[in-house]
Amino acid sequence: MSSATLKGPATPVAGPAPKPRPPTKRSGAVGRQTAAAWILTLPFAVLFLAFTAGPVLGSLGMSFTDLKQRDLRTPFAVNGVGFDNYVKALSDETFRKAAFNTAYFVVIGVPLTLIMALAAAVLLDKGVKKFQSLFRVGYYLPVVTSIVAVAVIWRFVLAPDSGLLNTVLGWVGIDGPNWLASKTWAMPSLIMMAVWRNFGSAMIIFLAGLQGILHTVEEAGQLDGASAWQRFRYLIVPLLRPTILFTSVTTGIGYLQFFEEPFVMTQGGPLNSTISVSMYTYQQFGFGNYSLAASMSYILFVVIAVMTFIQFRLLREK
């Protein structure tokens, strides 16, 4: 992520890159700084190499081998198989189904989440002056809640007969489906749950963005006779562009990794109708197909990188 994403109007602390320091006169000063930098960097570097950067490369290497569960004790004594795992993954029907589901989740889920987040942010920024922090905290609560607890709650919300959702739908005469057991409704259920759980984090960023927009801009629009919707559409949205870019990229990255909701709610079912790429990768890991799982995770990584690049291209100021 480049620092360009931080140019949003409301980054009170995120300053520009530090200016190059003027050269210090004493000859030992630079050496002392270098020594200090080494001491400060080393612990992080060791842990980072061992547990983040190393595994990232390890995964890449692994994806070109035939490593399986039984080889776990001798992970280096395996054979290279070229792109076999990638071919296998891409020609696997379930993997394609998982890719389709992930795309479904992203294409529907990201815009819904952002619209909800923006609506909530505008509501709080413009309309609700009293108790604003109460609403802000309330809307943000699901973000900080464990997915496992969320799953326990939502299993009851989505339950066919005694469920909260179908009870509410019943008040207006709608006979709700058996959400999670239906091939058609399982994905929408998970999307609903994900939007409920995640819109708060984008909302906070939008709120910060809105507070960075000068109110004089809006007042000028008001004087020119623009309606509330026109002011929103032609003044606020364009000014929020960097913030929208940021939230769509981060939400998109998160949603492409769609995993927790199917993992705790459906295990990918019914009949693979909610299986995602991450979920399927994890299943292959569970079966001991380590190298195949690694190649799948790398396919996902490439897709995320490409999508992020495209979003940057599309949403950058024209």
Partner: protein, 269 residues
């Protein structure tokens, strides 16, 4: 009240968001029979604390609670220490390889968790750390996100402070530890809370690494309860969910200013 309908929308939204939580809390005081009733009840008819006494009596939850707390505290301490150290070096010190290092750290922010998952599992298992506290903790002691947050914050502090301290003969590490670090308290608070919450809610890694009950964290225990032989014991599950969520809510409510500010600063979850 002016523009009452805006408040109406806001309140309806709040109810929609909060209703599932409220239902969980109320449900934890109901019996299994009442939880299954159609149509469902809101208030427990005969409130019982039976679910909680069972949870803490039979179900070993105090142990899981301690595990979660221990792991989250150590992970948080590690992140605060190591991320602030590197964040300072990247923002305020000149050294060779600084920019490639920063790009490498930022680059990994985009890598999906699944990519590191398998090799990390192979590594930790081969190092004999499966089912151990180090195995639960070590992979999370540092985070690219933490470095990013701390670097941004340090970059906003004036260099003059450092120069003044250098003139006074303070060592480079002294400048970091005694002058600059205390000024980043808001950023440390943000990082600390976000890291604690993240670790407390972390699920997948502890699920595969903790193999015996004495190493379970709360989410792992709750997940296994909700799929195992207790799957039909709804009251117990609700009470378990409350025990997982309430500490987080208390911490979040106490420090929510820092959390929301930190999110707004960095734009990251």
């Amino acid at each position: 009240m002016r523009r009452w309908w805006i408040y109406l929308i806001a309140v309806v939204g709040l109810i929609a968001v909060a209703a599932p939580f409220l239902w969980m809390l109320l449900g934890s005081f109901k019996t299994d029979g009442e939880l299954l009733r159609v149509p469902p009840t809101w208030l427990p008819e005969a409130p019982t604390s039976g679910n909680y006494s069972e949870l803490f009596g039979k179900a070993n939850f105090p142990r899981y609670f301690l595990n979660s707390t221990l792991v989250a505290l150590v992970v948080t301490a590690g992140n605060l220490t190591f991320c602030s150290m590197l964040g300072y070096a990247l923002a305020k010190l000149n050294f060779k390889g600084k920019n490639p290092l920063f790009i490498l750290v930022l680059g990994t922010l985009m890598v999906p968790g699944m990519v590191t998952f398998v090799p990390l599992f192979v590594l930790v298992t081969n190092a004999g750390l499966a089912n151990s506290y180090p195995g639960l903790i070590l992979p999370f002691l540092v985070s690219p996100f933490g470095v990013f947050l701390m670097r941004q914050f340090f970059a906003g502090l004036p260099d003059d402070l450092m120069d003044a301290a250098r003139v006074d003969g303070t060592s480079e590490l002294g400048i970091f530890g005694r002058i600059m670090l205390p000024l980043t308290r808001p950023a440390l608070a943000t990082l600390g809370i976000l890291t604690f919450l993240g670790s407390w809610n972390n699920f997948l890694w502890p699920l595969v690494i903790a193999q015996t009950e004495d190493k379970y964290t709360l989410p792992v225990a709750l997940a296994l309860y909700s799929t195992g032989q207790n799957a039909q014991h709804y009251g117990l599950l609700m009470a378990g969910a409350v025990v997982v969520v309430v500490p987080v809510l208390v911490i979040f409510l106490a420090f929510q200013r820092h959390v929301t500010k930190g999110i707004a600063i960095t734009g990251l979850k």
